[in-house]
Symmetry: C2
Subunit: 261 residues, 2 copies
């Protein structure tokens, strides 16, 4: 069990780790686990691909079910994307969830010259995908951002398509490669690590997504641990390309092992 030794920082996925998607209560033991981690002075950051709501609303939800993290410790893709858009002078055509729109309110969206794809859920309509496709085809240099690379997540008992497959559809249609903002992008993890102030090799990422959480963290030099909550499926433990440094029943189990080491 070497993954839990000498841990000097922890990154936590949110949905599927702190609470189950669609549920209104925390996963058992997760609130106390984060408290124990903080009491032991190990810094924590929350690293999420959540784009179905604003960062404010996500934080409100977390606080309403008993968590107490600060806004600055929560890293979703949209603020990172807005920074990129501003710095490169890009004006997005947005295919995102209506509940996330206000996080883009300071971004000029007139005469768009790129497409930003979030977890748009019902907004992933044939009509909206065609609009994004037609814009990309009209640009001399098409630019497509995907807010995360997730394949699917779990809501209630159902697996639900995430933004990744829709990004692949547009990549194929337009012969373009999406720039991922969010997990598993190295620059996204890098920004969170910099804020954490610990070197990658001393940090453990804990998540329910074998590819984007575990594999993504490992690609950045961190340890990656998968929880058996959220969208975890037993077949993940035999994943063809990613082998987690550890598998744990849930967040509380992971934190116990880290604090005992």
């Amino acid at each position: 069990m070497s993954w839990c030794k000498n841990v000097k920082g922890v990154l936590l996925d949110i949905t599927g780790v702190l609470f189950e998607s669609g549920a209104s209560e925390p996963i058992k033991g997760s609130i106390e686990a984060i408290k124990r981690l903080k009491d032991s002075k190990i810094p924590v950051r929350f690293c999420t691909n959540e784009t179905t709501k604003t960062r404010q609303k996500l934080l409100q939800k977390l606080h309403s079910i008993g968590f107490s993290m600060k806004e600055d410790d929560v890293f979703p893709p949209i603020p990172a994307c807005c920074q990129i858009l501003k710095s490169r002078g890009l004006r997005p055509h947005l295919v995102v969830n209506p509940d996330a729109l206000s996080d883009f309110c300071e971004i000029n969206q007139e005469n768009p010259n790129c497409v930003v794809l979030g977890d748009a859920t019902d907004n992933f309509s044939y009509q909206n995908l065609n609009k994004a496709f037609q814009l990309l085809m009209s640009l001399e240099t098409p630019v497509l951002f995907a807010l995360g690379g997730g394949k699917y997540y779990k809501e209630g008992s159902d697996l639900i398509l995430d933004v990744g497959p829709f990004a692949k559809a547009l990549e194929y249609a337009c012969d373009v490669e999406a720039e991922i903002v969010g997990k598993p992008s190295k620059s996204f993890f890098g920004a969170v690590l910099q804020d954490l102030g610990q070197p990658a090799e001393s940090v453990v990422m804990i998540g329910d997504d074998i590819v984007n959480d575990v594999g993504g963290a490992q690609s950045c030099g961190m340890r990656g641990v998968q929880v058996r909550t959220g969208k975890y499926r037993p077949s993940d433990e035999n994943h063809p390309t990613v082998k987690a440094d550890g598998y744990v029943d849930n967040l509380a189990h992971a934190i116990d092992l880290i604090l005992q080491s």
Copy 2:
């Protein structure tokens, strides 16, 4: 101009070659071109990825605008797919255009054990894609058929997403490779060639899709010629992976060159 010499058989794409998608009249000169080809005893077959209507309705449309081909000479993907489903005992969950549904009426669709994706247009909803995704994820051996591999087609002045991008989305989400029934599948072209009764090297495929028509035909040993009608775009002549044996203004131009050689 060596592509037009010694042609002993011709395969023709339909939409974008005989008529423009959404239009109610033939592309100028195409009816007469096919007549000239028949008069010169060069056999012709029609090789289409059209899945937005039944073969009967497609034929009715062709006849109504002045063409006179026989039903047996038209090869769309759905009849080929039904043969495969029957021979392998597969029961499809269909994500197809409502207007094409009746071509599947003899296929058992209870308790589905595979997914068939056609050009479903508005039926490519988030909800329908999730249903197909969930079925594939529930199968021990997920089987996904895509009726053609097209990226897009042209309707009026708009480029519109075809079935290919949606197949890519499900392939990525489920870690599965779609079996393509239709162009550019080798077995699909092979069946048409067999019916034509000429060896691939004596046959020219004429289409508006640089990858699926031209590239697909070339992969089977045929010559592939692109018309500058339908979804043709000037950038197709500098396509990164496919170089057509010839580019022609339209079908009539291609047939003139073949008959003059």
